[in-house]
Amino acid sequence: METSSSLSFLLTIPLLAMVISWVIPKALQRLYAVFGSALILALTAYETAGILFSASTDVAKAYFVDQRLEWVSELGLSAGFRLDGVSAWFLVLSALTTLVAFSTRGSWYRKQPRLFVSMGFFLLFALNSAFLATDLITFYLSYEAVFIPMIFMVGVWGENQKAASVYRFFLMSFAGSILMLVAMFQLMSMHHAATGQWSSHLADIMKVVTAAPVESLFWPCIGFFLAFAIKVPMVPFHGWLKEVYVNAPMPGTIWMSAILSKLGVVGIIRFVIPLFPAVIKEYQGPLLAISAVSVIYAALLAIRSSDGKTLLAYSSISHLGFVMLGLFSLSAEGSNAGVLLSVGHAVTSAMLFFLLHQVEERSGNVDLSSSKGLASTYPVLFSGLFISVLASVSLPGTLNFGGEFLVLLSAYRASALCTIVASLGVILGAVYMLRFFQRLGLGVPQNSGNADVVFKKDLSIADLLVVILLVVIVIYGGINPGIFMKG
């Protein structure tokens, strides 16, 4: 199964889905999107099954696919893709996230649904391409291409403040990524200077970089790091996040928090740490420190948040701070744990935002300033929400626990102080997540008096299936987190 044809298959099928979406009638777009993405999820899982479910890392390694297509031969640009234990999971995650995002309901299925669905599939394509890329320029292109659908998502279907937020999002991310491009050029030029050949393939660049003096790598490293730090985001590069998360339509938020942030994680795993080990090693202390600060800072902001979306937005930063802590512990264990936690965060935040969306549909808003007491009216919905809250606070037995625990365990060996500081996030996480759940679900049911409320019923069967799928992943991952760690 795992041949190079499966790689191109995985890449082209979202594009195909995007093209097909233009001939589907508007009324059927949602159905098409949900079934299409479910099918893509199934196909992705099937195609990568050999890697995903292999018992050990070694078996998974046997399925590695490395593909390199000539693209712009004049410059040695190739379309380089690699399917391995890390990228396989992120492929599945991006398909899963797309399924969840498409399962929402809202103005995006009423206003220009074709644009929405096709942009969604395009996003999936760009994400897959970025997760698989081993060529610097291929990666950059896919990384940038992700903006295009996101701009439309926020722009066309976003909330009232959308214009300002999308500009800020775009400009900050673009600033980061274009500096990364300059850094890539620096590396490519080093390669050219050393070998007389142009190449942007990671393997080629790596050979040159390992021989280069550390000082010459400092600025390129900064370029890469900034791009990913903005993407993830890490404090203090998170200024764009809140506005966009809040103003984006819910599917956009789901995509952003669940999977777009993982582009940064993958970038650091695949590029920053392997390319600049010495630089990162030298600045490990500060890096661990800002990871820990991210955890605490965002958690404190989450505590002060007055609506559900903002709170979850900040909690995302906080959790990703843990991921970064794992990655910058600079050990195989840490990076594996980081991957595990990012999988956990992806699934959990997709579930949280999805269910928050369901709450919003039912109560009209996700304001946290007073209790809504919705749990007794919608017990199934709130059971799902509670499970995701538990996953989010990394209760043992959920997917996130393994990640967070192992991250801290690995980070402790690198820096006890940073780890202890970050661990405080565990407490703060409980504080704000419980408040989040309490304000939405608990207390005396309030008569919202909202005439726009469309859905008075609990979760529909289809939504329930999505939630069950996510819950199964969360619990299974809590029991057997090993399958997510094949780095």
């Binding site: 410059l75 896919s142 291409a145 722009g155 050029f185 620096q186 490519m188 030029s189």
Partner: protein, 486 residues
């Protein structure tokens, strides 16, 4: 003699076409159609002829005053193509503006001939004549909305400044002649090889005055002031021609003039360093002016004017790279082609809008365009994305090469600045898209009507931009095979 005619065939066809068009317009004064067909026919023939002979070896004729090479042929073909596209795409605009003069077409042809000669010139005097042959019709064309005082103003401003700069060029040419005893490029080049003590004051002054004329033409800051005003006042297709044909011809010439002396010869090291410093300063100023002012603009034509000012900045990076030993200039050529492909689409698209009053199309007029015309919104978006250098458009690769070649020569800090400027100006390109798709507010006032051909031109431009964004290889290989300087 026969060979000379053969070599010059495309230019001769163009010249003959100008005469025919002139005659036709005299015969049928009441309609512009005959002149239009004649012009189209001429340009198709010229372009085809030039393109077909591209691979023929270069040849210096008229005792070295003119050199016809692959580059000049491909550029002439490009100019013809752009001319055709603007004749087709701008037709509806001219009708709307009630510009019925047939002279429009032969002036356009003369302008293209001037540009075609300019890129072939190997002699400062020929260059001056070509410059004027190209500029004089443009001054006139800029004032073609005869009853609009803005158009008038644009023409006169352009004329006054252009005339002064022409004189400055000539003074520079005179100085160079005085310093080297020749006006021909190869001779000047040869002189610089012999002058082991480097440049003298006369040469340096002459060189810089000559350069200044073309810095003015490509609107590198601080010689950019004419551009926003002229862009705004001129009829939109003319603005398009200015930003494409004139810009490309001028920039190619600028690069040649920069390399007029042999900078790598002994004794010229400090001269080369100073030249680099100057180009670097020009790049920085152009980038800053272009991308900082562009975000304050509300009128779309002015916006594109500032856009082209910052494009000059990026191109200066390419020129700067070419000043380092061992670096080619192909990045400049690729950039120019990429810019032209997108600009043709943009200006034709812009000319589709019904002007409201005198002010031209403002940003707010784009509001809610997606409701009125989703296709046009998509076309706008792709072209603006290309201007911003987003991936999957050719605009990405144009910046790519310029940046890469500059990084390769150790100009990384400058590239970082350029990259940040790209971010700033990306905001300006994003804003129109935002207005088109985002606002639920009332749609803007402008009416849009293009006509079949105009729409086809835009679609072709978009397809080209996207196709080259995905499969740039052939194009890049082709352009890399063409030497720009000597």
């Amino acid at each position: 003699m026969n060979e000379v005619i053969q070599t010059l065939m495309p230019w001769l066809i163009l010249s003959a076409g100008i005469l025919v068009t002139l005659l036709v317009s005299v015969i049928r004064v009441e309609s512009k159609r005959p002149a239009q067909f004649s012009a189209l026919f001429t340009l198709v023939l010229t372009g085809a002829m030039a393109f077909q002979t591209v691979s023929m070896p270069g040849e210096a004729i008229f005792s070295g005053a003119v050199e016809v090479s692959s580059l000049t042929r491909i550029l002439l073909a490009l100019f013809s193509l752009v001319g055709i596209l603007f004749i087709l795409g701008g037709d509806r605009y001219l009708t709307k503006e009630r510009i019925h003069l047939s002279d429009y077409y032969h002036l356009l042809l003369i302008m293209i001939l001037g540009a075609g000669i300019m890129v072939a010139a190997k002699d400062l005097v020929v260059l001056f004549i070509a410059l004027e042959v190209m500029s004089l019709p443009i001054y006139t064309l800029a004032g073609f909305r005869r009853n609009d005082s803005r158009s008038n103003e644009a023409a006169i401003k352009y004329f006054v400044l252009g005339g002064a700069v022409g004189a400055v060029f000539l003074l520079g040419a005179a100085f160079l002649f005085g310093a080297t005893g020749s006006t021909q490029f190869p001779a000047i080049h040869a002189w610089s090889r012999q002058s082991i003590s480097g440049a003298n004051l006369l040469f340096a002054a002459g060189h810089f005055l000559v350069l200044m004329a073309f810095l003015f033409k490509v609107a590198a800051a601080p010689f950019h002031f004419w551009k926003p005003d002229v862009y705004e006042g001129a009829p939109t297709p003319v603005t398009g021609v200015m930003s494409t044909i004139v810009a490309v011809a001028s920039f190619v010439t600028l690069v040649r003039l920069v390399h007029l002396p042999a900078l790598d010869s002994t004794g010229w090291e400090s001269y080369a360093t100073a030249l680099k410093g100057t180009v670097r300063a020009l790049a920085v100023i152009s980038l800053l002016v272009g991308s900082l002012v562009i975000i304050t603009q509300k009128n779309l034509k002015r916006l594109f004017a500032y856009s082209s000012i910052s494009q000059s900045g990026y191109l200066m990076l390419g020129v700067l790279a070419s000043l380092h030993p061992g670096q080619g200039i192909s990045s400049v050529l690729i950039y120019l082609f990429g810019y032209v492909f997108a600009a043709v689409g943009l200006f034709v698209l812009l000319s589709q809008s019904e002007p409201r009053g005198d002010t031209g199309v403002e940003l707010v007029d784009l509001t809610g365009l997606v409701k009125k015309s989703p296709l046009r919104t998509a076309l706008w978006s792709v072209l603006l994305f290309s201007m911003a250098g987003m991936p999957f458009t050719f605009g990405f690769f144009t910046k790519y090469f310029v940046f890469l070649s500059s990084v390769g020569t150790g100009e990384t800090p400058l590239v970082v600045l350029a990259a940040l400027c790209a971010v700033v100006s990306a905001y300006a390109y994003l804003r129109p898209i935002g207005l088109m798709v985002m606002r639920d507010a009332d749609p803007g006032a402008a009416q849009w009507s293009g006509g079949f051909w105009s729409q086809m031109v835009v679609v072709a431009s978009v397809i080209l931009v996207v196709f080259l964004g995905l499969m740039p290889n052939a194009m890049i290989q082709y352009l890399k095979g063409i030497p720009l300087i000597h």
